[in-house]
């Protein structure tokens, strides 16, 4: 067990693994929802250390990956307009829209700027009152509260030239969609820790009960993930299906009430398309009518843009856990981080990029160990 030596506490890792090995009696499939967890699992070979009976399926928890193509096209259209300063997080620069990305728009003369925080974009709007400043607001429940606060501030401070292109997504409806699919193999979830640090755990008991599936709130570190797996497997073996918090140092049951209150004020729940998956009911947020003046989709009239996704990219199946990245015909040939077909290869949190980076082709365990790590 070469990898165990790389763990922060190898002895604890060994104990957790021993416990999992001793507990499991039959095959179980668990889905980790968060892309950060996927990255950590592949980097440390956690899936290879687990008993053969425990399969980890990579979920749709990368905001860059799930942002639909047509939203990228809307961003590209707005960013190309004269007089616009288009602000985005850096990891959206290379996400392919139809034919190009934000990086290329800048090369063509568009004023595309990368910000660390949405508040930076608001500051740019204050400093450039004669320009239209648009922020690309994507992400899950961790990113939505900062973006909500920024729109709230724009309204409070009266900054008319600031607007946001909003494409936020919510985790619980995605879990519901995955579990409702006839081809679903998932029997337990490792829920995304930081999402729960904002939203708390209140949305999960109903899902756990309805689908009879254990949901264990889990962090990102290798030991966190092993502990999450251990608790999920234990529940499954006992026939239990409850919500369990294995990340108590960062997650309180109520989450962050101030952030949740702001979300309710600024956004309203809406149906949202997920890249490669399609529309999931109630799975997103959009700006509420109170903040319509700051809605870039409305301001730039790009609501009509609709785009079909490329047929050769199978990221939707990867995002739903129906296909492992290396099983896609285009993986590593037609599709690489330099020439990505879909967002799961662009974002470092995407399952395809993690497999590519760590040269994980699901080889037999011994061969895979020889091939990794590369960083």
């Amino acid at each position: 067990m070469k990898y165990i030596d790389e763990f922060q506490d190898p002895e604890l890792a060994r104990r957790l693994l021993d416990d999992i090995h001793a507990t499991v009696t039959r095959p179980w499939a668990l889905m980790e929802v968060c892309g950060g967890q996927t990255h950590s699992i592949i980097r440390h070979g956690i899936d290879q250390l687990l008993p053969d009976e425990v399969e980890l399926i990579h979920g749709p928890g990368c905001p860059v990956c799930v942002t639909p193509l047509e939203v990228i096209d809307k961003a590209l259209e707005i960013a190309s307009r004269p007089g616009v300063i288009f602000c985005s997080f850096g990891d959206m620069l290379r996400v392919p829209g139809t034919g190009r990305d934000l990086f290329q728009v800048r090369g063509e003369g568009g004023d595309v700027r990368v910000v660390y925080s949405p508040l930076d974009a608001l500051r740019i709007a204050q400093q450039n009152p004669d320009r239209e400043v648009v922020f690309f607001g994507i992400g899950f429940e961790t990113t939505a509260p900062p973006n909500a606060m920024t729109v709230h501030q724009a309204r409070k401070l009266g900054i008319p030239n600031f607007s946001m292109l909003v494409s936020h997504v919510r985790v619980p409806p995605a879990i519901e969609a995955i579990m409702s699919s006839p081809s679903c193999r998932v029997q337990g979830f490792l829920a995304a820790g930081h999402v729960c640090s904002v939203m708390g755990m209140g949305e999960y008991p109903e899902l756990a009960e309805r689908f009879r599936v254990p949901i264990v709130v889990t962090g990102f570190e290798p030991l966190d993930i092993l502990e999450g797996v251990r608790r999920a497997v234990r529940q499954l073996e006992r026939g239990e299906h409850t919500v369990d918090n294995a990340y108590a140092r960062a997650v309180r049951p109520e989450g962050n009430p101030a952030a949740r209150a702001m979300l309710e004020d600024v956004f309203e729940v809406t149906d949202r398309a997920w890249r490669g998956i399609g529309v999931i009911p109630d799975s997103g947020w959009r700006l509420s009518s109170k903040y319509r003046d700051h809605d870039a989709e409305h301001r730039f009239s790009v609501g009509g843009i609709q785009t079909a996704e490329p047929a050769e990219c199978r990221s939707g199946e990867v995002l739903q856990g129906l296909l492992k990245p290396h099983e896609c015909e285009a993986f590593g040939t037609l599709c690489t981080p330099r020439t990505p077909l879909g967002a799961t290869m662009v974002s470092s949190e995407g399952a395809c990029a993690a497999y590519y980076l760590y040269r994980r082709l699901d080889l037999p365990a011994t061969k895979a160990r020889e091939a990794t790590p590369v960083v």
Binding site: G35, V64, R106, G139, N147, A258, V375
Partner: protein, 100 residues
Amino acid sequence: MCLAVPGKVLDIEERDGTRMATVDFGGVVKEVCLEYLPDLEVGEYAIVHVGFALQRLDEESARQTLELFAELGMLQEEFGDPWETAAAEAGVDPVEEVRK
């Protein structure tokens, strides 16, 4: 962008009616909004995402997570030069891109 990174509060001040802090992320210092954790104090640790403190964290957990993220290259992604990264991915000269 998805990951929230733990950081230590160095300094707090009120700016334009908003509670802001200077936060150290393992050597990188950034401005952070405290509106969602208004009672956070200097010396405490919090999980910070895109410039907002979202939840308290104890020092040991924060240190371990920072070490892991550094090892995974995620701190570089979060705080490094995004144009340089994008240029490298696109296969063009990063130096030229950064100068633009």
